[in-house]
């Protein structure tokens, strides 16, 4: 009995069998991903021999570190160190290819985290992480710089100022009853899943001064650490890692929620269970878990890559097409 009655878009309020917008979206996303993989496979013909022999090593590092984290049940992944490394040394397309292949190969290996399709279904996220790593590197954030006393002092002062301003002023500007995001107060259940953010505004004057004080102290402490330990060249690395983490969280939340019900078997499941018992829906809990784990995870990964690049011999770095972007500029 083959009937094609269901093969039309759902009209509003329609209850009979039909194709809903959500299902169409998933099909479109799948087709776009397949097209992207086909495009990448064509690009692979242009990769140099050095890039092609770096990719297996990067994939193996990804899988080994990821499997270790998985086996230890830590709420981190660390399965994108190799992806970021290839993205930085060999360009965004090679990075994306490395991420996608690593997640697929991990799925097939009988090691912790492997042997099931969970890792492969997050391949699009890994691809975007590699792509972003290549683009960040193009802007020169991972280039080792000679130390400059004045830059360090300026960044340390800026950290203090931001700690004071952001924590106190911006929170109120955004979330106070007359602030930019004051409509997000839980009255409309469709907006951000009915989240209420007005509590972030810290209404009373005493609380505001207290936050300003804490923000200033925190900013001053961080600024002092930066000034003393000369971490200035790491700050852009952390910024890139944090932004990549937020993008990764936004991409992986729908996959984790709709394909696996939020459960992926790693140490992050404890976080998902925690957020769910706090009353969040599956999607909200997955996204909240991603926002907790991913920025930290990607920041650590970018830092590790920065340290690896600092330790690699010059003759290895300059073997790759983008190697000149990570060596110090010649005066």
């Amino acid at each position: 009995m083959l009937s094609f009655d269901w093969l039309h878009m759902c009209a509003t309020g329609e209850t009979t069998a039909c194709v809903s917008v959500d299902e169409l979206w998933w099909i479109v996303v799948g087709i776009v991903f397949l097209a992207a993989v086909a495009f990448l496979a064509r690009r692979a013909r242009d990769f140099s021999t050095a890039t092609l022999s770096l990719m297996p090593a990067a994939i193996a590092i990804n899988i080994a570190a990821g499997a270790l984290m998985f086996a230890l049940h830590l709420p981190l992944y660390l399965d994108s160190i190799g992806t970021v490394l290839v993205g930085v040394l060999a360009g965004p397309w090679a990075g994306a290819m490395t991420g996608i292949l690593a997640n697929f190969i991990w799925s097939f290996l009988p090691i912790p985290g492997g042997g099931n399709p969970v890792s492969a279904s997050f391949a699009p996220v890994a691809g975007v992480i590699g792509l972003m790593a290549g683009l960040w590197a193009r802007s020169g954030i991972l280039r080792l710089r000679a130390h400059d006393e004045r830059t360090t002092r300026s960044v340390a002062f800026a950290t203090f100022a931001w700690g004071w301003l952001v924590v106190g002023g911006l929170l109120r500007l955004f979330f106070a009853p007359n602030g930019y995001f004051s409509t997000v107060d839980g009255s409309d259940p469709t907006l951000l899943g009915g989240a209420n953010l007005t509590g972030l505004a810290l209404a009373d004057a005493g609380g505001l001064y207290l936050t300003w004080g804490i923000g200033a102290l925190g900013g001053a402490a961080l600024g002092y650490v930066i000034y003393r330990r000369q971490l200035v060249s790491l700050l852009p690395v952390w910024f890139a890692g944090g932004v990549t983490g937020v993008v990764a969280a936004a991409m992986s939340a729908p996959i984790a929620a709709y394909v696996y019900g939020g459960v992926t078997g790693g140490g992050t499941d404890a976080l998902v269970a925690l957020f769910r018992s706090a009353g969040l829906s599956i999607f909200q809990a997955s996204f909240a878990q991603g926002l907790t784990s991913d920025p930290l995870d990607k920041t650590i990964s970018y830092t590790v890559v920065f340290i690896i690049l600092a330790a690699l011999p010059l003759t290895v770095k300059t073997l790759f097409p983008r190697g000149d972007l990570v060596v110090p500029p010649t005066p």
């Binding site: 069998a17 692979a44 297996p56 090593a57 193996a60 097939f108 290996l109 009988p110 019900g261 078997g265």
Partner: protein, 260 residues
Amino acid sequence: MEAAAGYFRPGSGWLHRRHPTTKLLALVWLLVATFVLPPLGSVVLIVAVVAGAASAGLLAPLLRASRVGLFLLASILVVNGFFYPGARDVLFGLGPVALTREGLEAGLTFALRILVALEASLLFLFTTLADDLLEALVARGVNPRLAYVMLAAMQLVPRLQGRAAAILDAQQARGLEVGGSLRRRFGALVPLIGPLVLGTLIDVRERTFALEARGFGSGLPRTAYRIVADPTGDRLLRWVLVATIGALLFYGLARAAGAA
């Protein structure tokens, strides 16, 4: 080469004799089927996969290797069983949380699907030599450069494990303490991971020169060293599998639309 074998179990059963692309298609077929068919279908698929393993004499290694998925399966059951949103039919309460019927049913469905995927991919790895698979894929028009990346990556993972063990021995011989408090164990990670990652990356340079010296980047057509047997039955089986995957996808779409 010990490491090159990877997870392959040598043998001559009927599963070993199938063409690698046939087995790859069968794996895709099983993955599609388990996510498309109702939960009872997954039970049938698991029984079929296990029966296939038993008839090829691989039951014991399959069950032994299945333990990598145990934590995921347990995790799926617990999180869904206790924290399923909107579930009302409580089976029994346990302090602040309660085991619900809706949650347990959803968890069991997920777990069954993951179990099918796990057993099928393990059986595929056990019966297919990676070299044969990639030779077969290159013969079907897959980019040989990509095929090299995949094969080398799959062989590097077990080799990396062996290398880590060697570095651990070497550092312990130099007086590195790996036991003791949590802080000391984390401290011991640096002299282990540093040489492992940097050594692997420095090897990349040697491998690049070796590949260049053998004409890897020449782009000229290449001849095959291994010939993979492809019986007529396999070719027929592949057509059947492709046709039924299409039918399964169509059935799944109809079912999803009907449920909405």
